[in-house]
């Protein structure tokens, strides 16, 4: 196991895991443990940032390095179904890039479960990791200055949904009318680390 603990400021530590899958599993285990001295946990693609008021004890550090990742027991991972109109500007480009037809791209997107690895970039933006690498595509060579809210995109190993209008460089394959970020909702973010997402194609 090549997990490492890296220093990150006076009150922070970066727990580096093998890969995203291990990171998601370790995050679940940490959430279950609910350590008193850890005041904040921020996952990344292969790391979890931990903030504590005091430096963690050597024993606690050892525990972090040896913690068994947890897989979602049946029904314990929050599941969200998101309806998508697959009418994105880049759907044809994506099909060409991965060597499939447009319909096959849609089937690949809806046919696998996507797990929120971490959030970043903007409030409510979740980086979704799929079950296979069928839809792995590079970012657009020229990012757009304005991507409509609800746009569903692909980049590298990720899928994601833009919570609000703004600049973006991902390949857009569709849009959803579902609200990803709503300040009147608790929690305001629809997607949180560990949430499992299934996309459903809406006709038309």
């Amino acid at each position: 196991m090549s997990r490492r603990l890296l220093p990150y400021g006076e009150r922070g530590l970066l727990l580096e895991c093998e890969d995203l899958t291990e990171t998601i599993g370790v995050l679940r285990a940490l959430q279950r443990l609910d350590l008193d001295e850890v005041t904040e946990m921020v996952p990344g693609a292969r790391t979890i940032f931990l903030r504590s008021a005091q430096p963690l004890s050597p024993q606690r550090r050892r525990e972090l390095l040896e913690l068994e990742p947890m897989s979602p027991a049946g029904g314990s991972a929050a599941e969200v179904e998101i309806g998508v109109h697959y009418d994105g500007a880049d759907l044809t480009d994506v099909a060409e890039l991965v060597g499939l037809t447009g319909d096959e791209v849609i089937a690949a997107h809806t046919g696998q479960a996507w797990t929120v690895g971490f959030c970043g970039f903007a409030p409510g933006f979740g980086y979704l990791h799929g079950e296979n690498s069928t839809l792995r595509v590079p970012r657009r060579a020229h990012p757009r200055t304005s991507v409509p809210a609800g746009s569903v995109g692909l980049a590298d190993v990720w899928s994601g949904i833009y919570p609000r209008r703004g600049p973006g460089g991902w390949q857009l394959i569709g849009h959803t009318t579902r609200s990803l970020w709503d300040l009147d909702r608790t929690p305001p973010a629809l997607l949180q680390p560990g949430t499992v997402v299934r996309f459903v194609a809406h006709g038309g």
Binding site: P7, Y8, T47, C119
Partner: protein, 280 residues
């Protein structure tokens, strides 16, 4: 703009911590007027703030050393003072440093967003930046005024203490030396998201791309340009470029006072472990 101590503990949802760029100055201003330290106050850059009291208010101005005028007359900063109804307070541009904090007894009582009244310039969360004519509601005092109504004016510091960051090993030893020996110039492209620096290039020891990981206030990140930046309170919560060093908590506040055109140097922080001599 309105700032308090920010939105803690929500970074995992993509929400930046935000809050005052110079947290200790905000806390001091609040203490001077008998507020809880996390009450909302006004943060302004290079002075330029003028407010009129519509009722009797106790106020204090802290942060960068500057002149404060009440009805045109110079009064002290870093002191609590009464502002009578109809009186105008103006904060002049500071001679050094960047940001001033105006606290009012009772706190600025605009509606909070996600538990904070701070304006986040990256995401747009929180109150709109203040414009001429904006009226700010003030709350009721919660604590007595302190016995001390004066505080020492701390000069902005331009040598800031750092600890090695999580990706120190992504950089050459030359890069580390360059970080600690350069007189970095603060770029005018700096804001609450990041203080951008010019003056040297920090060489990578590996061409790898960094899988996105958490970023923190005070982190010194090196994007593909090789020019370092210091993340401020409105930093993006994750990033794909390596962090070579991290400011101490206290010196992250001093970073909030770095002026475009000014200079900053970094020095390795002496380790202060809890319980050891010299630990504050």
């Amino acid at each position: 703009m309105v700032q308090d101590l920010g939105r803690e503990g929500q970074a995992h949802l993509g929400v930046s911590p935000s809050g005052a760029a110079d947290r200790s100055a905000l806390r001091l201003a609040n203490r001077l007027v008998g507020n809880p330290e996390d009450a909302a106050a006004i943060e302004c850059v290079l002075g330029g703030l003028m407010v009129t009291a519509s009722a009797m208010h106790w106020v204090a101005v802290t942060g960068a050393p500057t002149d404060v005028l009440v009805n045109g007359t110079r009064v002290g900063s870093h002191a609590s003072l009464p502002l009578h109804p109809g009186s105008t307070l103006a904060i002049e541009a500071p001679r050094e440093g960047l940001r001033s904090y105006l606290a009012v007894r009772g706190g600025v009582q605009v509606a909070p967003t996600l538990g904070s009244r701070s304006t986040d310039v990256l995401s747009g969360l929180g109150p709109e930046p203040l414009a001429p004519g904006t009226e700010l509601p003030v709350g009721a005092p919660l604590q007595p005024l302190p016995d001390t109504d004066l505080a020492p004016v701390e000069r902005p510091r331009t040598t800031l203490a750092v600890l090695p960051g999580p990706r120190r090993d992504w950089f050459t030893d030359d890069a580390w030396r360059t970080l600690l020996t350069t007189d970095w110039q603060v770029s005018s492209e700096s804001n609450r998201v990041a203080v951008r620096l010019v003056g040297g290039q920090l060489e990578r020891s590996t061409p790898e791309e960094l899988p996105s990981e958490a970023m923190v206030r005070g982190a010194i990140q090196v994007p593909s340009s090789g020019l370092p930046l210091i993340f401020g309170p409105d930093h993006p919560v994750t990033g794909g470029y390596p962090v070579i060093a991290v400011l101490t908590e206290r010196d992250a506040d001093h970073a909030g006072q770095l002026r475009p055109g000014g200079t900053v140097r970094f020095v390795l922080a002496r380790e202060r472990l809890p319980g050891s001599p010299g630990h504050r």
